[in-house]
Amino acid sequence: MREVTIVEAVRETLAYEMARDERVMVLGEDVGKTGGVFRATDGLYETFGRDRVFDAPLAESAIIGSAIGLAVSGMIPIAEIQFMGFTHNAMNQIAEHLARMRYRSWGSMPLPVTIRTPYGGGVRAPEMHSDAFEAFFTHCPGLKVVAPATPADTKGLLLSAIRDPDPVMVLEPLRGYRLIKGEMPDGEYTVPIGKAHVAREGADCTIIAWSAQVEVAKRAAEEADKQGVSVEVVDLRTLVPMDMETVCESVAKTGRVVVLQEANKTSGFAAEVIASIHEDDDCFYALKAPMVRVCGPDTPYPVQYFEEEYLVTPDKALRAVLKTVNA
């Protein structure tokens, strides 16, 4: 166990798996000599060489499209999309080909491809560099989506993603890259895809969150404590497939639900969480109050000037908790 940042966890996990399995390779923009714009691949080029740490032309569709072919040929590619906003350029390859190939080929052509991308805003980056639209990807049948919140989960889920026989999208909390520190186990360590985690126990209300919102939820929970409200935080960790068992256990216990979502509200993943709870009889009848989601507003991600107001904050989350508790 050592304390590391998220970005260190990513880097060490990539190096670990590349050393273990020579089929594993990294491709993306600026992943080579410069080690990635966030340094998530720092040092890999020197250790594993140009062929396995490939500085790709600036063409996201070709990065994902060629990763599909690389996987068919027997490689295990990890594609980095430099910022989540740029995944739009590769959407056809992700949604129409990567996610569907196992199904299209009736099981004959599985694609062990991992896509890593920084997720979310809050670092005063330019437009298209702060997006958090996980719902585009959770809506693609055939694609798994994970969104770790801690260095340990980043390692464990990234390692599971690389080894998964199917494509996995790993959303890495951009503003947590250096901000979030935590203990990370050394050596072999995986976290199963599809398992949520109770990040904080509580009795009165459940906050469901993922990625950077887990930290927001925990801070809101601390504030709520001071006001005599005990909040449980469920870190989903994996969005697809979602761990309804852990969610329902918590909902059955607290009877109140707040979902945090950095992305804008309409058609976001929080709606999926709430609908899934609603559809589950045990969950639904355990509810004591209407469920609440705290999301970004339905504007595009704003310029830096409005960024703080756009984001979900512990204060906004706290208000939602108090609203459901007092409902």
């Binding site: 070709a62 499209g65 068919v72 056809n92 129409e96 199904y103």
Partner: protein
């Protein structure tokens, strides 16, 4: 083989003909001193062209009878897919189709029964049998080109012997995926052949509206790779130029773009009505340039083919098609529940629940 008239530089390799490269003219005259393949191979090629043609014709008929789904036949373009497939080695070279390449896919090892099942809308038609170096047909346009480049690149990285060919049309050369993939192929020197069948039409959009570039082959210059225009209705030219591109790829010299001039003698798909946009004389003009007629004319001159042999070949192809069609109809019909097992290696809890619902086991 002996040289052809004139020589052009084909990325360091000299191709002995002015573009578009043609080795057999419409009348079946050989425009080189020697054919690029033996008469036996040419007869095998002819049979593959015929199988592809009759397969497509039969499928259109069956579609009109309601026994098949919307499909895109390759009538008139068979020499492109068969000739290029003949330049590959089935056990290690990859054939990546778009959706109009049944003739070449059958030659490269797709079982005929599966081709029928594919057009029947059965998922089994899309399953790639073990050992067949092919991806399932792709109903989009150009999305498979980066896959072909990725496979070629991966083979090279793993020092595996093998090249990849991607087939696509003139419309695909307007797609970003074509540019991105061809560009990447040039950078990594992927052993890939980008084979564009310019059949003059992208549904109703004519070649003239697709690009102001005088040829599509010249787009290769932007990627730093050789591009060459060939007569796509000439099995010999397709075979020979693809063979040379394969040689280049295997020698580590990277990708080649081939633009094969051909014509859609059939239809875009069974859902299309070309009479709304296609001047009727064009098809008539191209009928005499039919790749099958041309090869027959040539082989007739060489004494290898005659009307009797042709009839026997037709009968043989028909018997093969009838047998496979019967097999396809007798194939087990997959259950929708099975489809839930094809999304991931392991079903998610939700898929399991939905499978149970679909199979009527659960409310």
């Amino acid at each position: 083989m002996k040289t052809m008239p004139n020589q052009i530089d084909f990325g360091g390799v000299l191709v002995d003909a002015p573009p578009p490269v043609q080795l057999l003219d419409t009348a079946g005259n050989l425009r080189a001193d020697q054919p690029p393949m033996t008469d036996e191979q040419a007869m095998e090629g002819l049979r593959a062209l015929l199988l592809g043609r009759r397969f497509d014709e039969l499928c259109i008929l069956l579609q009109r009878r309601g026994q098949m789904v919307t499909l895109a036949p390759g009538i008139g373009q068979e020499a492109c897919t068969v000739g290029s497939a003949m330049a590959l080695r089935r056990d290690r070279d990859w054939f990546i189709p778009q959706y109009r390449e049944a003739a070449g896919q059958l030659y490269h090892g797709l079982p005929l029964v599966q081709a029928f099942l594919w057009h029947m809308g059965s998922p089994i038609g899309f399953a790639i049998p073990e050992g067949v170096k092919m991806m399932p047909f792709n109903a989009g346009v150009a999305g498979h080109v980066p896959h072909a480049v990725g496979i070629a690149w991966g083979l090279k990285q793993q020092k595996k012997d093998g090249v990849t060919i991607a087939h696509f049309g003139d419309g695909a050369t307007s797609q970003g995926d074509f540019y991105e993939a061809a560009n990447l192929a040039g950078v990594v020197k992927a052993p890939v052949i980008l084979f564009c069948q310019n059949n003059e039409w992208a549904i109703s959009t004519p070649r003239s509206l697709q690009s102001a570039a005088p040829t599509l082959a010249q787009k290769a210059a932007a990627f730093g790779i050789p591009g060459i225009q060939i007569d796509g209705n000439d099995l010999f030219a397709v075979y020979e130029v693809t063979r040379r591109a394969v040689e280049r790829a295997r020698a580590g010299e990277g990708p080649t773009l081939i633009e094969a001039l051909t014509y859609r003698l059939g239809i875009h798909t069974t859902a299309d009505d070309a009479s709304r946009y296609e001047p009727s004389h064009l098809k008539e003009d191209w009928k005499d340039r039919d790749p099958i007629l041309r090869l027959q004319r040539h082989l007739e001159r060489r004494g290898t083919w005659n009307a009797n042999i042709g009839e026997a070949m037709e009968a043989e192809v028909k018997a093969q098609l009838d047998a496979a069609w019967a097999d396809a109809q007798a194939s087990p019909i997959p259950n929708i529940g099975e489809s839930f097992t094809k999304v991931f290696a392991e079903m998610t809890p939700r898929l399991r629940e939905q499978q149970a619902q679909a199979e009527g086991h659960d409310a």
